[in-house]
Amino acid sequence: MPVDFELTKEQEDVKATVREFAEKYIAPRAIEFEEKQMIPPEITREMGRLGLFGVTYPEEYGGLGLDPVTAGLILEEIVRADLTFSLAVAYLVPASWGYVACKYGSEEFRDDIIRKAAGGDLWIGIATTEPGAGSDLAGISTTARRDGDSYVVSGEKAYISGVREAREKGVWFELGGGHVTLAYTDKSKLHRGMSLFFVPLTDPGISVRLEKEFGRKGWSYGSFVLDNVKVPGKYRIGEEGRGFYIAMEGFDHARAYIALACAVGGKRAIELAAEYAKQRRAFGEPIATFQGVQFQLADNWARLEAAHSLAYRALWALKMEQEGRLGRYEVTKIAASAKLFAVQTAKAAIDDALRWFGAYGYTEENPVALAMKAVKSYDWAEGSLDIMRLIVAREVLGREYIARRR
């Protein structure tokens, strides 16, 4: 009986603890995240104390050593309480990229950075996108030049989450934070010439600019410019030339978590809208009585259930990979499928759910409206939907059908 959806006692305990925290501290203030365009620092501090910024890191580096499925159970509770997805971003980015950085990083990096991140003193973000390159990562222009024991990094990263939280020390995180940053160490080799570095955003040589986000406003979004910034060699993540491939692994983690966040956010949106539909009366009856609402609800719910299960399958696949029981390509295929399906499913569900609210849906006080803006970000964040399609097609058809680079 290997297929089993039952949770272990540890998972139940973890879920119950995070639910209590989320209901008590997150849910009552989630609307405020969007309004004030920031997470109250006491929330990130408390999350740090609970250990929520190091769930996937190995115990020997201060993390909880939880597998991706259990990390997903925590994400569910966070999303249910905060449909702006601001905290979902704050949580899932380190759970994915911090984990991969720890896996490939040097021993000094783990001792220096991972340990602090696990303790909630430092946030780990991801920076691949640039003003001139997103889906086509080979088009990046950031470079890292070796200089003795260090690298000198120059370039610009754009539309990056958490730049403010990583830049400002002593607010959300005692030591600020930094981003896992993709740069060319040898541009002539294209994908094989890229490397990853952990770049502390507190470095005075970095200038940060904030964007006005469309949604998810609680967690900052912006760009940073590296002007000959010296990064210690010990902060290189993995071998030179392996950056692109390591990044692909990080994307798999992030996509599985995003798929889960979208499925859960979509379900929560339907739940909230259903509550409203039971209260709201039109033509003498609660609108929940109308089959026009019921059929939409049922179709969306069934699809969301499917997205939810697929997301956990992707997280399970990551766990299997960690145990050496599933190959990279298979994991990539499931993670991309999960994101592709969950984002579209959640968007459609939230669109319907929002309609049941009538005019009240079209306000910034309605969490479902905020969820709509949040989920929209995943049309591109951590890999656009079209890139997901290319990945799934490539893995099903075979790699000889990859379109040639023009």
Binding site: E10, D13, T17, L50, V55, L64
Partner: protein
């Protein structure tokens, strides 16, 4: 000075769970999740804060069926050092008198093991039976002073404890000789949410189970036989109350209508200064 504290806990039906009733009116406990009585969580928090401030040991104790053991892990995660589950079929059906007797016997044994005991803390009542008996009764069985409705423990010094006790409209500060039993009211001790590391570690900790023989409990004083209280019948209360809206653009007229109505129901309004 380090203080040794025993905290009494009761596993109760999760107040947030949907409860089903059997045809005879009793709760179907087989399917419901048990949690630590929410009122006891304030007592746990108070005990752990004392330990953090003064040192010493916190021992938790609950009297419950074996399957309740999972609900007690949370206390271990919050900082209770050791947990005793007093469990025996012979205890089934015990009322508050029998329960407080059994708990007192177990506390004596813990006391002996620890060498010294300073405080026994519990919640002011349980969320499922709300008697509030256990704390004071344990005090009686052990011959110790007990204070109920304790808002906060101000100081532990020179063999006594200074507590702030809630009374209607205010509070009194009392000095009580140790050891003492305190029922903690949930105002000053907001229970913390344990760090996940502690939650995971609690799962690996041992909970010691004692039966009545090990504790030396007189079996004629526990269970149904030892319980003077009998639950004769349980029934569901259907709440048929309905809200009534009084509306009138003129506020005075609206109030007049409201007053008229409640006077008709025989309710008189007192003025409190």
């Amino acid at each position: 000075m380090p203080v040794n504290v025993v905290v009494l806990m009761k596993p109760v039906v999760d107040p947030k769970a949907i409860v089903n009733f059997r045809p005879d009116g009793t709760i179907d406990r087989s399917a419901v999740k048990l949690v630590v009585n929410p009122y006891d969580k304030y007592a746990i928090e108070a005990a752990v804060q004392l330990k953090e401030k003064l040192g010493g040991k916190v021992v938790g104790i609950a009297m419950a069926p074996l399957h309740a053991v999972d609900s007690l892990r949370e206390a271990l995660a919050i900082g209770v050092d050791e947990f005793i589950l007093l469990s025996d079929l012979k205890l089934a059906g015990s009322d508050t008198l029998a329960t407080s007797y059994a708990l007192s016997a177990a506390i004596r044994k813990i006391w002996q093991k620890l060498g010294s005991l300073d405080l026994i803390l519990c919640g002011i009542e349980s969320s499922d039976s709300n008697t509030g008996h256990i704390g004071p009764e344990v005090g009686e069985w052990l011959g110790l002073p007990s204070v109920s409705y304790v808002d906060s423990i101000l100081e532990v010094r020179d063999g006594s404890v200074l507590v702030k006790r809630l009374i209607e409209g205010g509070y009194v500060v009392m000095k009580v000789k140790l050891p003492a039993v305190l029922s903690i009211a949930g105002t000053s001790y907001q229970p913390r949410i344990p760090a996940l590391r502690e939650v995971l570690a609690a799962r690996r900790k041992q909970i010691t189970v004692w039966n009545t023989a090990e504790v030396g409990i007189d079996q004629s004083l526990v269970g149904l036989a030892g319980s003077p209280t009998r639950v004769v019948r349980m029934w569901r209360i259907e709440i048929k109350r309905r809200g009534k809206i009084f509306s009138d653009p003129d506020v005075d007229k609206m109030l007049e209508k409201f007053l008229e109505e409640i006077r008709r129901d025989g309710i008189s309004l007192g003025v409190r200064s």
